[in-house]
């Protein structure tokens, strides 16, 4: 549901404004709103000195953020709201933040470069090991220059060209050894006399062949000379990395707490400065207005009373003075439904006074998912995946919500699996004699289509009823159009059911007469868009046929997977293919029903009553480093 809000107004002498703002910041639940300006009440604006001070605080905040992002904030550090340090202290902290920021950046760069070097050396060590075997031949050529070349797999063809080119250039005054590497590349050692090396380098340039060069190892070393250096360097890198880690830890220990404390204090001050923009001023007093969850009104009253006594007056603004569109929206649902707020959150928030669709989505989304996938085996696998996802998930986080939604979907999938008699398609029937309790989907296509459309009728009518309820809140006149539409949709459905002999034929004529009578009423009340909406609504009901179509495709694919066991000759090969096919079908079977169930809600169901465009509830409170969405109630 959408949490009911109260609009409140606080009146107090200008002198205690800073204390009142601090108190409200501690309270942390008031969404500020500017009071209406008049000749007596003007909105507060900062003077030049204040503006300069704020700009300075913003710069300090940026520096602190950048340093602490690198230093990594300590999440366990829960400081009491600190007061803003004096200017001199603040300037010292800023200098310290800059210095620490530079040190941290340097250490991070050093760590990155060491890790890169380690990866590179480890790779070239493998290459050089392969050259070591080849290089034994080099000892026979004491006055030769050695060239080490690695050619990737896609350039294997130029090897023959390289040999041809070398013969043409140097005659037989060279030796070339080649060794295939495990990586698919080929390593080449080329020995030439010192007199010929310039010509060889030209040839390399023409053929665009590059000699490998190790970081930190001088050029021209033979592999026998280079490998000990590489090993030595590789052994030294972990120590250098440990030194970097120690220096980073020391920077954290010496500066992080103080910088984090300053960051909170500075940003809290900036938040309060922002709040001052919503304060109205009279000659001697200030007016502060805002929105508060209705249940917290007395808590705020008590909190202000304890601190300021009669100096600060809090009053609730009468409902007649404000309109629904201004009110910030926060959703508050029972624990069972709360994960589904994630799915509602994909759309813009509903407006205040409209209906929160979360409870309906929480019931129908997993149900639709189950109707489509409906398989005990797939449901079991999904439940396992949901449990895995749920483990170690942060309380109230996205991962936990996704796991809980998956869990609900798995439960409905298993229930409908029993109703359809499906366990990995028809494997349950073939192996264990499982029978459908309600509907055998592989054969009963038309009854399944009927079920899908019946779900569509119920879901769409529920949407129309919710629309009627919302409009009734605005007055009877506003509800007339939705009421007529709802009634006509019911009449059309009755007429169709009577025409196809699902209902007695006696229903047909009265239903058609009602449609004919109500049609002009609908045009008068809703205009020409009324009949269009009516036809669209009927089209939406037909759209629920996708439940049957996607469900049938899923069960047919599962059955096709099971047929593989018998048709591929070998039972083992067939079983492997069947398993693979079931895996693919499971992946599709999870993605497709989720997508179509969502679409049926967003387009068909929400389209009938959902009213998007609500303002996010953003209460004035203490600054927090992580992005926190307060528009969804945690309590």
């Amino acid at each position: 549901m959408i949490l009911p809000m109260s609009r409140i107004r606080i009146l107090a002498p200008v002198g205690i404004l800073p204390e009142v703002l601090e108190r409200l910041q501690d309270f942390g639940r008031l969404h500020l709103a500017s009071p209406a300006e008049s000749a007596d009440v003007l909105l507060m604006e900062p003077d030049r000195a204040q503006e300069r001070h704020l700009r300075q605080l913003s710069r300090i905040s940026d520096t602190l953020r950048s340093t602490l992002d690198r230093l990594e904030r300590d999440p366990s550090l829960r400081l009491p709201a600190p007061t803003l340090p004096e200017r001199a202290v603040l300037a010292r902290r800023l200098r310290r933040a800059r210095r620490v920021g530079r040190d941290v950046a340097r250490e991070a760069e050093r760590r990155r470069s060491l890790e890169e070097e380690r990866a590179l050396l480890a790779r070239y060590r493998l290459y050089f090991s392969s050259f070591q075997a080849l290089a034994e031949a080099a000892t026979q050529w004491p006055d030769a220059a050695a060239y080490h070349v690695i050619l990737p797999r896609e350039r294997q063809r130029p090897v023959s060209l390289l040999r041809e080119g070398l013969t043409k250039l140097l005659g037989d005054e060279f030796e070339m050894w080649t060794q295939e590497l495990e990586t698919g590349e080929s390593a080449h050692l080329i020995l030439v006399s010192r007199a010929s090396d310039t010509r060889l380098e030209e040839l390399f340039r023409e053929a665009r062949v590059e000699e490998i060069q190790l970081p930190g190892v001088e050029r021209g070393l033979t592999p026998v000379q280079a490998i000990p250096r590489v090993v030595e360097r590789l052994e030294a890198i972990p120590g250098a990395l440990a030194e970097v880690a120690t220096r980073m830890e020391s920077l954290r220990a010496s500066s992080r707490a103080a910088l984090q404390e300053t960051e909170i204090a500075v940003n809290d001050e900036l938040e309060r400065a922002g709040a001052r923009g919503s304060v109205g001023l009279t000659d001697h007093a200030f007016v502060l207005e805002g929105w508060l969850p209705a249940g917290l009104l007395h808590d705020l009253e008590r909190s202000l009373g304890e601190r300021f006594g009669d100096l600060a007056v809090l009053e609730e603004v009468s409902r007649a003075e404000w309109a629904g569109e201004e009110v910030p929206v926060t959703l508050h649902n029972p624990r069972l439904f709360r994960p589904f707020e994630l799915l509602v959150g994909i759309l813009p928030l509903p407006t205040y006074g409209s209906i929160d669709p979360t409870p309906f989505l929480a019931v129908f989304f997993p149900m639709f998912f189950g109707v489509v996938l409906g398989d005990v085996g797939y449901g079991g696998v999904l439940a396992g995946a949901a449990l895995l996802l749920r483990r170690n998930a942060v309380e109230g986080g996205v991962r936990q919500s996704v796991a809980e939604i998956a869990g609900a979907c798995a439960a409905f999938t298993i229930i409908f699996g029993f109703l359809y008699g499906e366990l990995f398609g028809d494997a349950g029937a073939l192996l264990f004699g499982m029978r459908a309790l309600a509907l055998h989907r592989e054969e009963a296509l038309l009854p399944f289509l009927g079920l899908a459309l019946a779900i569509g009728v119920v879901h769409t009518l529920l949407g129309l009823v919710l629309n009627l309820v919302t409009r009734l809140r605005e007055g009877r006149r506003a509800a007339l159009g939705p009421g007529v539409t709802l009634f006509m949709v019911v009449m059309v459905i009755l007429a169709i059911l009577a025409a196809v002999d699902v209902l007695p034929g006696a229903f047909f004529t009265p239903a058609v007469i009602m449609i004919l009578v109500l049609f002009p009423v609908l045009v008068v009340v809703e205009g020409i868009l009324g009949p269009t909406e009516l036809v669209t609504t009927l089209g939406h009901i037909l759209s629920y046929a996708r439940v049957m179509a996607v469900g049938t495709a899923s069960v047919m694919m599962a059955a096709a997977a099971n047929r593989m066991v018998g048709t591929l000759g070998s039972v083992v090969v067939g079983s492997l293919f069947a398993l693979l096919f079931h895996l693919v079908n499971f992946a599709l079977g999870v993605f497709s029903p989720a997508l179509h169930a969502l679409r049926l809600h967003y387009v068909e169901f929400f389209g009938t009553f959902y009213s998007p465009g609500g303002t996010r509830y953003e209460p004035f409170g203490h600054w927090m480093p992580e992005t926190h969405s307060p528009s969804r109630e945690d309590a």
């Binding site: 038309l446 037909l542 969502l598």
Partner: protein
């Protein structure tokens, strides 16, 4: 012969909407990819938009099933 015509009709009932769906999804998909490059937070909305034209092929499938079941195929 009747089975041939019934099967052909059912095949067309799926094939033509499938082509239409593919065409529509290609257009929406391309526009969606461009949208995501600028606003990645709209990914859920884009997925829904891409799924919308599937109604055509799904209804085509339903019609094909009805043709096959009702056409004596």
């Amino acid at each position: 012969m009747s089975i041939v015509w019934t099967s052909l009709a059912a095949a067309l009932a799926v094939a033509l909407p499938a082509l239409a769906t593919a065409w529509a999804q290609s257009k929406i998909g391309a526009a969606g990819a461009a949208t995501l490059a600028e606003k990645p937070e709209l990914s859920a909305t884009v997925i829904i938009l891409v799924a919308i034209p599937e109604t055509m092929v799904i209804l085509g499938f339903v019609v094909a099933v009805m043709i096959l079941l009702g056409g004596g195929g």
